[in-house]
Amino acid sequence: MHSGCDAPEVRRTVRLTFDGDEIFGFEGQTLAAALLAAGRRAWRFTSRRGEPRGIFCGMGICLDCLVEVDGRPNVRACLTPVAEGMRVATQRGAGSWGAPA
């Protein structure tokens, strides 16, 4: 949805899922980039108030963009590269360990 800018000619598509839905990224992109390109703005709900969070600092410092990847919580979406078959899930609170949906 937001992926319109500055598209180079040859990019290798990577398929992953977010909360069970298939989304696409490009090789070399971070998870945050792929999620934003797919029109997602939030991929975590906070522990105390259950509020949505997404990308904030974009450079690994604020730890707001934490998400669950392949059953592992607290992964920084802004630093983690996309990979084929990656299963990404919204993190609720401290997140949960184990197989994602």
Binding site: H2, S3, G4, C5, D6, A7, P8, E9, R11, R12, F26, E27, G28, Q29, T30, A32, A33, A34, L36, A37, R41, A42, T46, S47, R48, R49, E51, P52, R53, G54, I55, F56, C57, G58, M59, G60, I61, C62, L63, D64, L66, R72, P73, N74, R76, C78, L79, P81, A94, W97, G98
Partner: protein, 485 residues
């Protein structure tokens, strides 16, 4: 443990320049960076798989970056460059605990140059935790290295020339930039103008951005601050108010922008954790972004053999960073006996001269964009002030009023600064706010205490045997591997 003569942490302009100077002196420096590619936030290139057809540098900053990268490439065979590698602690003064994709290692540096850079300063305001509110640098990285627009309609706000750079990049990438909101008043900017003539090239660069934005019909609004972001699932509108020279918002002079993205920051904060862990004596300089290590004329900190260069030693931008990096690289090489005194002094002289002039220019900018106390009046009692622990202003204020007027006490009382970001996001604003409320000086309140590990580190990773290329874990912890800090 591995020993190296010269280790440089951070591969932005300062770290790269230091590595080049050391390699030129015949040393074989080790350069460590947590990111997948060198360049720092300013010069980092997109991954090879995303390189677009546009290869010519488009502006002067990009050309400087390209030139630095080229000089780096020439010497790169003499260097060990460890990307995706993080320094999670410093033992003693110069023993680095490093963690990479392939394991962990302790590296003892005979000489250590720290070039950790800076991050953007976003003081709290109502709605600042909404998705779609992000830093200008975060939005810029999305567009510049990832080829993704973080939204469709964006307002860019805060202070400093970086806002203009980001405005142009987002606009060129196809986002609708509804405006730039700069806290500095027009009158103040005009008064500073003659002193900025000190460096006509840099002034010209800034004016170039202004002209191009004007041509692109992006309104620049001065003397205004963002007082609220509104929305439910994400930001929908942003309320902006006229402000006084202390940056206090005027409730009667408000207007609203309808956007899906707000990129906001009031300058930068030096990343002081590494110098603090190394035991460097720190001081607070508001104009340079916060707590910075004390340095001598050659960038050496109070700890012999530990040097600091670039924004991590006081925010001053990429040009100053590059020169400081060169200076630290030369001086450390001299310490190690790779440069004799005469050669060192000859090499150092033009750099010192250039730095002197750059710093005079920067001093005007720094004075102009220094953080004003009015920003602390923007949050309301229910505004979240600690993003990680989700503490409201009212909650933290109660802590302050019950005696939590230094970091340690306030942290114990409220959990402020105890979350995943380790206080990076909340502390710079909280310290100013405690100062305003308690009458203490920022120096009395002190810097954020630093506890390793810096950033999340799994118990599994810690339990692994040392050896950066050793992929076999000494202890298999199964699924507990990767537990959060």
């Amino acid at each position: 443990m591995i020993r190296h003569r010269l280790v440089i942490v951070g591969a932005g302009p300062a770290g790269m320049a230091a590595a080049i100077a050391a390699a030129d002196a015949g040393l074989e420096p080790v350069l460590i960076d947590e990111n997948p590619r060198i360049g720092g936030q300013i010069y980092r290139q997109p991954p090879a798989t995303l390189i677009s057809k546009e290869t010519e540098p488009t502006n002067r900053a990009a050309r400087r970056g390209a030139e630095l990268l080229r000089r780096f490439q020439v010497q790169s065979s003499r260097m060990t460059v460890l990307t995706n590698t993080r320094v999670w602690t410093i033992f003693g003064h110069r023993q680095l605990g490093v963690q990479g994709n392939q394991g962990r290692e302790t590296i003892e540096a005979e000489q250590l140059i720290l070039a950790p850079g800076a991050y953007e300063y976003v003081p709290p305001f109502p709605g600042w935790t909404l998705p779609g509110v992000m830093t200008p640098g975060g939005a810029q990285q999305m567009v510049k290295t990832m080829g993704v627009c973080p939204g469709k309609r964006v307002l860019i706000a805060g202070t400093g020339p970086f806002l203009l750079v980001v405005a142009e990049q987002l606009q060129k990438a196809g986002m609708e930039v509804v405006g730039v909101v700069e806290a500095i008043t027009t009158a103040e900017a005009i008064r500073a103008f003659p002193r900025l003539l000190e460096h006509p090239t840099l002034l010209g660069e800034g004016l170039g951005y202004l002209n191009r934005l004007r041509r692109a019909r992006v309104p620049i609004n001065r003397g205004e601050v963002v007082v609220e972001a509104r929305g439910d699932a994400e930001v929908r509108e942003v309320v902006v108010a006229k402000c006084d020279p202390q940056w206090r918002g005027d409730p009667s002079g408000q207007r609203t922008f309808v956007v899906d993205t707000l990129a906001i920051a009031y300058g930068f904060v030096p990343r002081a954790q590494l110098p603090q862990l190394a035991g460097c004596r720190m001081r607070f300089v508001n104009e340079l972004g916060g707590w910075i290590p004390e340095t001598d004329g050659n960038q050496q900190t109070s700890v012999p053999g530990v040097w600091v260069a670039g924004d991590g030693g006081g925010v001053a931008g990429a040009l100053v960073a590059e020169d400081e990096g060169t200076l630290a690289g030369l001086a450390a090489s001299h310490q190690l006996g790779a440069l004799d005194s005469a050669t060192f002094e000859r090499a150092q002289r033009p750099v010192v001269r250039r730095l002197h002039r750059l710093r005079r220019f920067r001093a005007v900018l720094d004075q102009l964009s220094r953080i004003r106390p009015g920003l602390t009046t923007i949050p309301t009692p229910d505004t979240i002030v600690c993003r990680c622990e989700e503490l409201t202003q009212a909650e933290v204020e109660t802590g302050i009023d019950f005696g939590g007027t230094d970091l340690r006490t306030l942290k114990v009382m409220t959990r402020l600064g105890m979350g995943a970001c380790q206080g990076c996001m909340c502390w710079p604003a909280a310290a100013r706010w405690i100062a305003a409320r308690s009458g203490k000086s920022i120096e009395e309140i002190g810097p954020l205490s630093v506890r390793p590990p810096l950033g999340p580190l799994s118990v599994g990773d810690l339990a692994r045997q040392e050896g950066i290329s050793d992929r076999t874990p000494a202890v298999s912890l199964g699924s507990s591997e990767g537990a959060p800090t």
